[in-house]
């Protein structure tokens, strides 16, 4: 796992104790996702990676796994870089 994935895993481990969460593992299928995780996950992603989660990003597929979240962060940071002035 790269650094982004490790940070995401460390955060999610709080919610999936005793389970070695794998990068592609579907966290919704594990059945522990509730509104506490939902809002904290958004705040974590925004604060940790400096991205903004917008209304269009409300898609379970963006948050389904460590890999999905890392990909989402990469897309958001890439998109931000593209629109930044040179």
């Amino acid at each position: 796992m790269d650094e982004t994935q490790l940070k995401i895993k460390a955060f999610l481990n709080r919610f999936f104790k005793g389970h070695d969460l794998q990068p592609a593992e579907d966290i919704f299928a594990l059945g522990f996702v509730n509104s506490l995780l939902a809002m904290q996950l958004v705040a974590f992603v925004e604060k940790e990676f400096g991205v903004s989660v917008a209304d269009d990003d409300l898609d379970l597929d963006n948050f389904r796994s460590i890999q999905a979240i890392a990909d989402f962060v990469a897309r958001k940071t890439g998109a931000a870089a593209e629109v930044s002035p040179a």
Binding site: F11, A43, K47, D55
Partner: protein, 377 residues
């Protein structure tokens, strides 16, 4: 670590305090009896920028930091919890739009909400769905080029005068949130009277019958209304209610300090009786502890820290219970006078009880808070 307000924050608090003392506190008892706050007071809240003060400057608001926002809430609540509840619900809706609204929704509503031109109200609770928000029965049917809302909302704070409702409904079994303007055909408002506390909060029942709203009135996406849109609004509401509870408790302390010094029984002021001092001691310490929890929650919210959710809930849980204890003891200290409308403490007690119920009841928080704690270990 520095546990003190900045000069700017102290100045802001002094302004809020003076406003409340001059324009709210002297009239709060009458508004409570009349079960309404007057349009003139709402005009003053617009002029002062106290409504929607959490809206970012980008959208025409003041973007107050969470500490100043909390101080505003506490000071207003010291004067009148119903006025505080106007700020609470209006700012909850503004916060939800700011957090999850589309660019068009933000441009359409936030500047007007920041100016107080349109008042927001949260239409979540129903006759059969309170704490169990996922069980709401209001439906949203896909009408092709629109959504059709049907159902009944209850306990909608300031629903009597709100211009914009954040309505929650089930869209094909999934929760969805909509911004519904008051003038929308099919939306009817019925005032609710005779509420125990925050009686001037102008509660209403909202009936939605074939209420046709544009597709673009959907906030966020279908399926995320409870977990994200309501959660964001309620988190803002909990923060406001926590500070509002501190305001009630501080008002109780202020009232008791004056009364215990002036009222004489058995030849000495009440304050010289040790059992009265014991009640005052609990009140003094409780108010300070509750305020510190609120300050910590505000600091974390400003920092965008994920831990803000738990700290805000903890602050609301503690402060609302403190408000009830303080108000209960305040009535006790005032004796028969406390049971009369000649003194405000009876109103404080009725208002405080509401704080333990709204934005997550004490029992819901007793179920939820340990879950946060388990995360950390």
């Amino acid at each position: 670590m520095k546990l003190e307000l900045s000069a700017e924050q102290r100045t802001a608090r002094a302004e809020f305090r003076a406003f409340t003392a001059a324009e709210i506190a002297p009239h709060a008892g009458r508004w409570d009896r009349e079960e309404a706050i007057p349009p003139s007071l709402i005009d003053r809240l617009r002029e002062t920028g106290y409504l929607g003060s959490n809206v970012s400057p980008e959208h025409g608001g003041r973007g107050r930091d969470m500490i100043v926002y909390g101080l505003l809430t506490e000071e207003i609540a010291k004067g009148c919890s119903s006025v505080r509840s106007l700020l609470t619900v209006h700012d909850m809706v503004a916060h939800a739009i700011q957090r999850w609204g589309s660019r068009e929704q933000k441009e359409r509503y936030l500047p007007r909400m920041a100016r107080g031109e349109v008042l927001g109200a949260l239409a979540l609770s129903e006759p059969n769905a309170g704490s169990d928000a996922k069980s709401i029965e209001t439906t949203a049917a896909d009408g092709g080029d629109c959504w059709l809302l049907d159902g009944r909302k209850k306990w909608t704070t300031f629903g009597q005068i709100a211009g914009l409702f954040l309505v929650f409904a089930q869209a094909a079994g999934k929760p969805a949130a909509f911004l519904v303007e008051r003038e929308t055909p099919g939306l009817a408002v019925q005032p609710l009277k005779g509420i125990t506390g925050t009686r001037a909060s102008m509660l209403a029942e909202i009936e939605l019958r074939g209420c046709r709203v544009p597709k673009e009135s959907l906030v966020g996406r279908v399926g995320f209304a409870i977990s994200h849109i309501a959660a964001a609004a309620l988190e803002q509401g909990r923060y406001s209610v926590a500070w509002g509870s501190v305001g009630i408790a501080q008002a109780c302390l202020d009232a008791c300090r004056t009364y215990a010094a002036e009222r004489r029984q058995f030849g000495v002021p009440l304050a010289d009786h040790q059992l009265i001092r014991r009640l005052l001691t609990d009140m003094i310490v409780d108010v300070r502890a509750a305020r510190l929890l609120c300050l910590r929650a505000g600091w974390l919210r400003d920092a965008g820290d994920p831990g803000a959710f738990m700290e805000t809930m903890a602050a609301k849980y503690f402060a609302s219970r403190v408000a009830v204890r303080a108000a209960n003891d305040a009535v006790q200290i005032h004796g028969a006078n406390g049971c009369s409308e000649d003194y405000p403490v009876g109103r404080y007690l009725r208002d405080a009880k509401v704080m333990e119920i709204i934005e997550g009841s004490t029992q819901i928080q007793q179920i939820t808070l340990p879950l946060f704690e388990f995360q950390e270990f």
